[in-house]
Amino acid sequence: MKPKLQATGLAAEALRDSPFGESAMSTEPGLADKDMIINFGPQHPAMHGTLRLVLRLDGERVRKCDPEMGYLHTGFEKLGEYRTFNQYVVVTDRMNYLSAMANNIGYACAVEELLGIELPPRAKAIRVVMAEMSRISDHILSIGLQGMDLGAFTAMLWAFIEREKVYDVFELTSGGRLTTSYTRVGGLAFDFPEECERRIRKFLETLEGVLGEIEGMLSHNRIFIDRSKGVAHFTREQCIAYGVTGPVARASGLDRDMRRDRPYLDYEQYDFEVPIETDGDVYARYLVRLAEVRQSARIVRQALDAMPAGPYNALGKVTLPDKDDVYSKMESLIQHFMLEMPGHGIKTPLGQVYHSTESPNGELGWFIVSDGTGVPYRVRVRPPSVYQFQAVQPMIEGRLVADVVATMSSLNVIAGELDR
């Protein structure tokens, strides 16, 4: 016999109220007098990813909202207990699939802090370039999708073109567009090619023009402003209470950016501003993202101008030796085998570390517990999307159904890192 599924929360309430039980609720007589309960997602064209909101509607107005997660459960954290430190890099790609590079970098930085290794300056500069390029691609797509959800489909297509150009750079550098797997513990998989610098500079030149076009189309657009100003208002205090970080918190006036407040990868040597808005609505989030793209472009330019020469991997026993040396020198071959053989590899000291980076969506934290073997005892992620997804409820209760779409796109919740 098939096990009966148990509904919870609002869905259970709906079933209890309905005289027809599990039969279709839309045929219920006397619907006009009652609240209607609809599932917004997990399969809904306007929903970003497999997210589910159970909405109780009074006409067009949302009475109550139940955000549900778990539709893209992947067991990423559990996988970390069965993969070596380097093997886990490929898993981090798939968490926030819109900014895989930022995830790679955040994870590698956390393991390096656990090991206590200092990166060479070139590796740091390359990572900064890649992290900021990832922020540009994530934010510009988010802006485009925000436009699309509010009726401006063109803005999304323009944003996609820019994202493709960033992905071209990623492919040139790492070999992958979406699943980059670029970082390794103690450095990078490949060096930064000469060609890339030219490509990035060319991209940054055209980026400003495209940003101007998108801005011209959305920023003063009556339709866009009417649907975004004052929508999904969230105060600074609420952001702190809910743990919301990143552009959403900065749009509410919470002046917090890990790159400036707790610098990693020598971020303190770059000159950039942290854009702040105080309105805390969908429009303010759009403005913050737009300003952050410009700041990221500024950081990329500075990093490229001051790109140091030298090794791109930390010297020592945690990084793979040069392939030519492996073919010809015995010491390098032994080190190669010691790192790659099962049961060997990178050995971290007993202990635990929490390291957070400013990913495009907010504070991305990694908590790694090491028991001294080559495999982490526990990998815990603090994905920014979880905190933003739980803030959906206070944002949209009491508002209209149409505002739900605007809210969700302004939060840029990624299901991949939500359900890990």
Partner: protein, 190 residues
């Protein structure tokens, strides 16, 4: 009417609806017509520009006309299907050290070693079975990175439809002959 309904719910100044007109906003602006027209104008201007999209599969980024993008086949770091590299005498370079099998995060490589023939003086072992399950593979390139004798590489080949799952498990012969025409680039490691 709508306004009255809003007020009943008591949502204050942030309630949705027609906001107060911004200073300097004319009646024409409030009709949305200028905003719509501006949008159409921008769209039409873009319509006449060179298009960015590639009409896959009729054309692909592999074609010569897209070589200037530097991606796909023209990118030596592109991670596509694997190939087992042959040495000068046409034998596989692989010595069945199993490092790629250990390095694979997706656990998709299966190797069974056997003693190499006596006349192969340069090695003791060779793979009897070398299988890669391409459906499990995540194309991360760790096997290539782990290989100490340059025996396995990732090629830019990615177009790979089959009609059954078993065809996607590549055996040694298939891997040795994979993509024989394409020039397999040596990946820059420096």
């Amino acid at each position: 009417m709508i306004h009255a309904a809003h007020d009943d719910h008591g949502h204050g100044p942030h309630a949705h609806g027609d906001p107060e007109p911004a200073p300097g906003e004319s009646i024409a602006d409030r009709t949305y017509v200028p905003a719509v027209l501006r949008g159409i104008k921008l769209t039409l201007a873009r319509f006449l520009q060179k298009k960015f999209t590639v009409e896959y599969p009729e054309e692909s980024v592999y074609d010569a006309s897209y070589a200037d993008r530097g991606i796909g086949a023209s990118n030596p770091r592109h991670r596509g299907e694997h190939i087992l590299v042959k040495d000068e005498q046409g034998r596989e370079k692989c010595v069945a050290c199993l490092l790629c099998m250990a390095a694979c995060p997706a656990l998709c490589i299966h190797i069974e070693p056997e003693p190499a023939p006596a006349e192969w003086t340069d090695r003791e072992r060779r793979p009897k079975v070398f299988e890669i399950d391409m459906l499990r593979c995540i194309y991360c390139g760790y096997c290539e990175e782990a290989c100490p004798c340059d025996a396995i590489r990732l090629t830019p080949k990615f177009y790979q439809p089959t009609t059954s799952r078993t065809e996607r498990v590549y055996d040694k012969q298939r891997l040795l002959e994979n993509n024989p025409d394409a020039q397999v680039p040596q990946r820059p490691r420096k």
